[in-house]
């Protein structure tokens, strides 16, 4: 498997670490209710199909949002977390 790093181009899977769904970018505000924090920390969808995932490219230190189909394994997009919305 290969992933496109916006900084380095297409690179082998072994250079990356995945930490799961890109929901982790939607950090609640400090005063959000406990339910919001619970959902943010612990609740994740497990989609069969298109998914947005957080990957870290170790060699260059870039965090990415990768759009990937978990059924077809097709990588359809990748953006640096800094540029992703």
């Amino acid at each position: 498997m290969r992933l496109p790093c916006p900084c380095c181009g297409w690179r082998d899977l072994r250079e990356f670490t995945c930490i799961g769904a890109a929901d982790y970018l939607e950090r609640p505000t400090a005063d959000a209710p406990p339910e919001a924090w619970d959902a943010y920390l612990h609740v994740r969808d497990n989609p069969a199909g298109p998914a947005r995932e957080l990957w870290y490219h170790d060699p260059c230190g870039t965090w990415l949002v990768v759009e990937r189909d978990t059924v077809m394994h097709a990588v359809t997009g990748s953006r640096a977390v800094e540029d992703a919305q």
Partner: protein, 974 residues
């Protein structure tokens, strides 16, 4: 030499090659495979079958071979399951038959064959059920002794393997007419092409079948195309290479036999594991001939017809008198061609009624082979035609049940092939696997002319996708005769008819499986073990499927195939693990003082990938603790020196650096004065402690964060995440500088005095202060921090000066009655002071648990703040950090032990907590421990029982404050 005809395109007859098989001296030719050499030497059984230990001969001439698996001597040990059909002969090669004792001709376990009526599918499952107690003591050892194909060598595998990476526009898998034309088309278009071929020689089927291409001998045409390809700088030819797996994103796994064929490989690796990344790929892997399941079809001498032709054409192996048994036109034309070249064809048997043709041999239409004879090898076959049986004497039976496209690679990502009635075989669907298309025989185009055209067509399509222009290419003329067959999967006659030769599965076993309810193809496979041998059923899957469909009354496409998974061919573990042995698997990180501390005799311990000195022994030390106590004494009474460069160092710089650090630390770093250092705690977002360390403000916009040795990578990744995800637009940069600085701790009452020797004067630096200093001409950094509770400094110099600095500091310390100290002493010093490491910060603790709740700012948001306030993460029910002192100071404490009320049994329900770290404190003359105890802070003075069931250690301990020594901290501040 016996059994060699004239000719043989692959061998150099003049160059004899001596080798040994099963202890017998033999001679082959240069260019032989082990299989062709054995056949040429008249060796018929080359191994014994798995279950019934029946003698087995060579069946095929390629990597799909189920029978001719041998043990090959290499690097002093016998490697099992080497396919003789792929192994090239070299002088001095030594091989032996496997699965037999004492020899392949006389094998004791051949008695199993007499028991065959009892050893049907599922025999083990049914027989070894009861009595239950017999399983472990009797059945399992017995079965284990008899099971397995070949024996694994016990010794460490000393053979060399390599891994390598390749990238290309177009990967062409297979170098037959299809692959050659595809590579030629793409090569002329300027594409970056890799052409891989499993065989030593490129060319595919024409090498074995002769015939004409482009008005000349097929072999000549192949050589001409290869010469052109070799001349193209953008084409790379890789013979002896098998593609075994297709992975996501156009990544292909391939195994190259680099030195497997060399008598003395020296430093040439045996195999190379390639990862080939290709933008597009063409599967031109051809097709495999399938055998026919007729009674007695496993006798040595029964071969695939294509193998008979291959051994004749390429290696000039004379098969003697040959009977050909087929069901298709290709079988007949092959027999005719072989007879024309002088092979003795005793008869041609075809199951179809309507077969006719000119032939110099008897042609029996509507006939079947219903039996064979010959103990160690075929002597005669029994033919049945119109209900009448007759016998024909022969040495070889060539089987041709039709051809199966070699499509396994197209299914590696889960797609299923489709059934093609015309050729009675499964074919790949176009677009089954993104970026890979099958062409030629691999998708069911069987004539040479069709293959040539299909190769060009596939290359054109790939070039269009690559944005390249395909050149006009003239199609060579070649044979275009149609291929027709009438399916014949099994001959219905008494006697055992084999499907899977390697795992001894007969048609009866498959029928039995269906009868007993294992009617799904995946169940049948597991129940009978069909297709589960090293050949993965390449010659048996289709036949077994057809017999199953027949038994269940279903159709073949309705029954479906089993799942194709990588690897397509066996891959040795050594090749998969190439480059990852020993230090390749776990590299060593060494500090700049490494050579010196090893020269001082220090045993090294691992800390992450780093190696650090444990202690520094002196002559006459009775044990390691003596050294450890001495080093603790250096620090408490004089001065000690320790290399602490392994701690993570992260530079955080920019106008927003302080704001950023406020967000990742529980405390406030933005208000830290320049030249000051603060202890900081980082939490994970779930509210637990991630790491602790110091943060120094070197300049207005310049901070240096330190982490523990173990968590350096995790912290760096975390900081990168927080910055990129939540601090967009903030002006700061992060950089790991761990390896750029060598940092030495100088600790003890005389630390200032030692530094005066290095810096020229005692630095006027308050506790938790920082200042830049000069060590001679070298710009250095001096921090006044302490991990021992004594007056302590850490002096950092650029890494290239680390070794010199360490040597100088140790010499000066020794002059002051101190010296170097190792990890053991460092641990004692920090436990005496209640300082934390990852022994305590175990991922489950909160700042509250450690008594550090005061470090959590109430005035700002920071990572982990919201979650750390959740119910259950604070309060009396938490395990909290306490100190432990034994009642008897000499009673040893052990880390990992659990704590219970004094009279309660050692049961989880009574558990009060557990011990995280222990040491013997020479300073206080007692054992000490740090533990996590439920509501521990409120229980100082209480007595508990320490119980270490693993080590059998029990003693009574008193809970106390975790700071045992100098609780006011005067020693490190003054």
């Amino acid at each position: 030499m016996k059994r060699r005809a004239s000719g043989g395109s692959a061998i150099e007859r003049a160059r004899g090659v001596p080798f040994r098989f099963d202890g017998r001296e033999m001679r082959g030719c240069r260019g032989d495979t082990l299989a062709s050499a054995l056949l040429a030497n008249g060796v018929r059984p080359v191994g014994r079958s798995f279950k019934y230990h029946r003698p087995r001969g060579v069946l095929t001439a390629g990597s799909e071979e189920p029978n001719a698996l041998v043990e090959l001597k290499r690097d002093g040990a016998y490697q099992p399951n080497i396919r003789a059909t792929l192994q090239e002969l070299h002088p001095g090669l030594e091989a032996r038959a496997q699965n037999c004792w004492p020899s392949v001709r006389r094998d004791v376990l051949a008695v199993n064959d007499l028991l065959a009526p009892f050893l049907s599918a599922g025999f083990y499952y049914k027989t070894f059920m009861w009595p239950r107690a017999f399983w472990e003591g009797l059945y399992e050892p017995l079965i284990r002794r008899a099971a397995g194909l070949g024996r694994l060598p016990r010794a460490y595998d000393a053979s060399l393997h390599e891994r390598a990476f390749a990238f290309c526009d177009l990967l062409v898998i297979g170098s037959g007419p299809t692959g050659l034309m595809a590579a030629l088309t793409a090569g002329r278009a300027g594409a970056d092409v890799v052409l891989v071929e499993e065989d030593r020689q490129m060319g595919g089927l024409p090498l074995s079948q002769g015939g004409q291409i482009d008005g000349r001998g097929a072999d000549g045409w192949v050589q001409r195309v290869l010469r052109e390809l070799q001349g193209l700088p953008n084409v790379r030819l890789m013979p002896r290479t098998s593609v075994f797996g297709v992975y996501d994103g156009g990544v292909f796994g391939a195994l190259e036999r680099v030195g497997q064929h060399l008598a003395e490989p020296g430093l040439v690796p045996r195999e190379c594991y390639w990862r080939i990344t290709a933008k597009r790929a063409i599967l031109a892997s051809g097709a495999l001939e399938r055998p026919i399941a007729h009674p007695g079809n496993d006798r040595p001498g029964v071969m695939l017809l294509s193998a008979v032709a291959s051994y004749w054409q390429r290696w000039a192996v004379d098969p003697g008198r040959v009977v050909v048994f087929g069901n298709n036109d290709h079988a007949l034309t092959t027999a005719q061609a072989l007879a024309a070249e002088g092979m003795q064809i005793a008869a041609y048997i075809d199951s179809r009624e309507d077969v006719a043709g000119e032939a110099p041999f008897p042609l029996r239409a509507g006939a079947e082979v219903v039996g064979t004879r010959g103990r160690q090898g075929l002597r005669e076959v029994t033919i049945r035609a119109r209900g009448r049986e007759s016998r024909i004497a022969c040495d070889t039976l060539g089987l041709s049940g039709g051809w199966n496209p070699t499509l396994a690679l197209t299914c590696h990502q889960g797609a299923r092939p489709v059934w093609d009635e015309a050729i009675a075989a499964f074919v790949p669907r176009p677009g089954m696997l993104p970026g890979l298309e099958a062409a030629g025989a691999a998708r069911g185009c069987f004539s040479t002319a069709a293959c040539l055209a299909d190769g060009v067509e596939a290359a054109r399509a790939a070039l269009a996708e690559l944005g390249l222009t395909a050149p006009d290419i003239a199609l060579p003329e070649a044979d275009d005769s149609p291929y027709t067959l009438r399916p014949l999967w099994q001959v219905k006659a008494p006697g055992r008819a084999w499907l899977d030769f390697a795992n001894d599965v007969t048609t009866k076993d498959v029928k039995l499986a269906a009868q007993e309810g294992f009617a799904s193809v995946e169940h049948m496979k597991r129940y009978t073990t069909q297709g589960m041998a090293p050949d993965q059923g390449k010659s048996s899957n289709m036949g077994a499927l057809a017999v199953l469909a027949d038994a269940t009354g279903g159709s073949i496409p309705g029954t479906g195939t089993t799942t194709f998974r990588p690897p397509f061919v066996p891959v040795s573990i050594g090749a998969l693990g190439a480059g990852a042995r020993g230090k390749g698997f776990r590299p060593e990180r060494r500090t700049t003082s490494d050579t010196q501390v090893r020269a001082l005799g220090a045993p090294m311990i691992e800390a992450g990938l780093w190696y650090r000195p444990s202690y520094f022994p002196k002559p006459g030390d009775p044990d390691w603790r003596t050294a450890c106590n001495r080093e603790v004494g250096y620090v408490r009474k004089a001065v000690g020196v320790c290399d602490v460069s392994t701690l993570g160092k992260i530079a955080v710089q920019g106008p927003d650096a302080g704001r950023f650090l406020d967000f990742v630390y529980t405390g406030t770093m933005s208000r830290l004065a320049v030249g000051r250092v603060r202890y900081g705690l980082m939490l994970r977002e779930d509210g637990h402690v991630m790491d602790d360390g110091t943060c120094a403000r070197l300049g207005e916009q310049d901070y240096l964060v330190t982490t523990t040795t173990a968590a350096a990578g995790e912290v760096m990744r975390h900081l990168e995440f927080v910055q990129q995800a939540f601090c967009r637009g903030w002006q700061l940069r992060l950089c790991s500088v761990t390896e750029q600085w060598a940092q030495m701790a100088i600790a003890g009452p005389l630390a200032g005095e030692l530094l005066a020797h290095v810096l020229g004067e005692v630095p006027d630096l308050p506790f938790m202060g920082y200042q830049p200093v000069q060590v001679g001409p070298v710009a250095a950094r001096l921090f006044r921090i302490s991990f021992s509770g004594e007056r302590g400094y850490e002096l950092a110099v650029p890494a290239r000066y680390g070794a010199d600095l360490f040597r100088q500091l140790v010499a000066l310390a020794e002059g002051l009655g101190g010296g170097a100290y190792g990890m053991e002493a460092l641990n004692v010093l920090r436990i005496e002071k209640g300082f934390l490491t990852h022994a305590e910060i175990d991922g489950f603790v909160t700042a509250f648990d450690l008594g550090l709740q005061g470090m959590m700012s109430r005035k700002k948001d920071f990572i982990g703040k919201a979650a750390s306030g959740r119910p259950g993460l604070t309060g009396a029910e938490r395990l909290q950090l306490v100190g432990l002192r034994p009642q008897d100071p000499t009673a040893e404490l052990t880390a990992g032990a659990h704590l219970y009320p004094r009279e309660a049994p050692a049961k989880a329900t009574h558990g009060q907590g557990h011990v995280k770290s222990v040491c013997y404190s020479p300073t206080l003359g007692t054992w000490l421990g740090l533990a996590l105890v439920t509501n521990g802070r409120a229980r100082h003075g209480e007595m508990l029982r320490l119980d270490d069931g693993l080590r059998g250690n029990r003693c009574e301990v008193t809970l106390c404050d975790p700071v045992f020594f100098d609780p006011e901290g005067g020693r490190m501040r003054d």
